[in-house]
């Protein structure tokens, strides 16, 4: 392919009543990024295109935008890669999602900044600095717990494609929650409780739908989704009894007592007797459709070898006190297409050793 089409979201509130798209035809050049393509279109064809940029090295986060429907840094992705990935001759660039566009690819950042302010995204030291003038010290394992989260460049790619934010703009969002985790989990920080309460207000932290778009979008492998869960774990450890905590307890009990979750009794256990009454019409509907395992009302069936699970459960509870789980490093999110027939091993013949 010698040329490609760059389809750009255009909107000037001083002139346009509605946004529109304008397409520019550009040569395919090896190594050309989307940001470079935007510059070429601006310099050679239309000086009115507006977009934010700064470092051009995936460090500052200014050029985050939606490219063919997914948020990323325009300075990080190459045109040839995108044309191949989507098997197309057109690359569409839009402002990031879930925010208000101001002009062309530039969006309103105030809304995000206001959200960030709620969790005080700065270090509030627990203790006075060391008297000898050295820096605050931290155990390597403790630092490891916040290492990836500290890499956030506030580009808002994660906020752009967040499904929970799409449904409810009051959700603080992965960038804000992840930043709250970065400070709340810092052993040198003195505002852990304050930060946790800020994200738990109106159960906001629990609105996350676990879709993992944020982690997938993040250009810096900050693991925003995982940080949300880590924050929820911290909240539970601090004694906050959230619906998520109750939910987890039910799962743990069912795994111990029968192996599988008892979905029939879940509403009553999750929400109490009032919840069960509220869910009764739904339950009846499910019964009429034959989706109810009646045995579940009386505890239901148990998995085989349950005694093995119970032994393991008790031993795991003891062992966990001495285990320091390391955060997994993503090490280059894998986008490669693995949709190919792989060599199959006949385990029966190899004894599972290959």
């Amino acid at each position: 392919m010698e040329k490609f089409k760059l389809k750009v979201f255009r909107y000037d509130p001083t002139r346009d009543t509605e946004p529109y798209y304008k397409t520019y035809e550009l040569p395919v050049e090896k190594g050309m990024t989307v940001l470079a393509a935007l510059f070429k279109a601006k310099e050679e064809q239309d000086p009115t295109i507006s977009f934010r940029y700064n470092c051009r090295a995936a460090i500052c986060g200014s050029c985050a935008m939606r490219i063919n429907g997914h948020a990323t840094l325009a300075c990080k992705v190459q045109i040839t890669h995108l044309l191949d990935k989507y098997q197309t001759d057109t690359i569409t660039v839009e402002p990031i999602g879930n925010v208000k566009p101001l002009k062309d690819l530039i969006y309103d950042m105030d809304w995000l900044v206001d959200k960030l302010k709620r969790i005080k995204p700065w270090f509030i030291p627990k203790e006075k600095p060391p008297v000898d003038g050295t820096e605050y010290r931290q155990d390597p394992y403790d630092h490891h717990r916040i290492d990836f989260a500290s890499d956030c460049i506030l580009c808002a790619s994660c906020m752009s494609d967040c499904n929970a934010l799409k449904a409810n703009k009051d959700f603080l969002g992965p960038m804000v929650h992840s930043k709250a985790y970065r400070f709340a989990a810092d052993t040198r920080d003195g505002a852990k409780k304050e930060r946790i309460e800020a994200v738990l207000e109106d159960l906001n932290l629990e609105w996350c739908v676990r879709c993992m778009e944020c982690t997938t979008r993040c250009p810096k492998e900050v693991q925003p989704y995982e940080n949300i869960i880590r924050l929820r774990i911290m909240a539970a450890e601090e004694g906050y009894k959230t619906p998520g905590e109750i939910h987890a307890e039910i799962f743990e009990q069912d795994i111990y007592n029968r192996g599988l979750l008892n979905e029939m009794l879940l509403p009553m256990r999750q929400e109490g007797i009032l919840g069960a009454i509220k869910r009764a019409p739904f339950g009846i509907k499910m019964m009429l459709k034959g989706k109810v395992n009646y045995a579940d009302f009386f505890g239901g069936h148990k998995i085989k070898r349950l005694e093995e699970v119970q032994k393991i459960y008790k031993a795991a509870k003891e062992k966990e006190k001495e285990v320091k789980i390391k955060l997994p490093q993503i090490m280059g999110v894998i986008y490669e297409d693995k949709r190919k027939t792989r060599k199959r091993v006949n385990y029966a013949e190899t004894g599972g050793n290959e």
């Binding site: 609105w207 795994i255 192996g259 395992n293 032994k311 390391k326 997994p328 297409d337 060599k343």
Partner: protein, 294 residues
Amino acid sequence: MAELKYAFYTGCSAKGVAPELYNSTKLVAEKLGMELIELEAATCCGAGAVQEKDEFLALTINARNLALAEELGLDLLTICNTCTLMLREAKFKLDNDPELKDAVNQVLKEAGLEYKGTSEVTHFLWEVIDGVGLDKLKEMVVRPLKDFNIAPFYGCHIIRPPYLIGYEDPDNPKSIEMIIEAIGGNPVDHTARLACCGFHSFWSAEDKVTLKLTAMDAQSAKEEKADFMVTPCPLCHTQLDAMQEEAEERIGINIGMPVLHLPQMIGLAIGLKPKELGLEKHVISTKEIIQKVA
């Protein structure tokens, strides 16, 4: 052809609120030449809930689930996106952290088990493509679904996060479309194709998030004139099918979009009867689909 034999991990939903998935999977798999050895001693994967309360316990129970597949010398096959993710996550952590693997194995030893890391975690969707093969599937089609516009709904945990799943590009997956085309159907491109059904925030944000997403997803398929949606995940199915009427009420719109499990759709194309596949068990009526294939 290599042996298509798997350790079958059913998960909780197929044994609870989605019995039609369990039955249709077994029927379809048998017809496609897949042998499923059910792991009757496997536990719930924790579904992300246990993981956020007790990470080490969650890892250990899933290490046990994986060890059960290893006992059989087989890859572990799931029919639920979230189970796939939880099991793959456990495997990723254990395979990349020898100290953690050792700690987990010390616990498993109490029950005479050991996690070695020899079995892969795979999903029915992937094995229809990689194991059975699309050419063989095409040959088996006796009732091409050519009169149907079918809206794929992937569900989050079969494409994201790519560092744990990595089967296909999470920005532009094609596996479900490939299967729809192989059975003669017309895949519909809709805006919620890769969206979230909201299932996992149901108990904490039912009104504020979950039902809005459910309505937006089903509406997106309707806007593109789909006859039905299809999903490889029972949790997405429960949310989109069983909760669709509640979602409609909250949003004040009428949708009525049927949602099929992936094996049900394949089963229709390879000649199984709608009743055998449990199509009558859906909350959103599948009558029009049944009439069309009659």
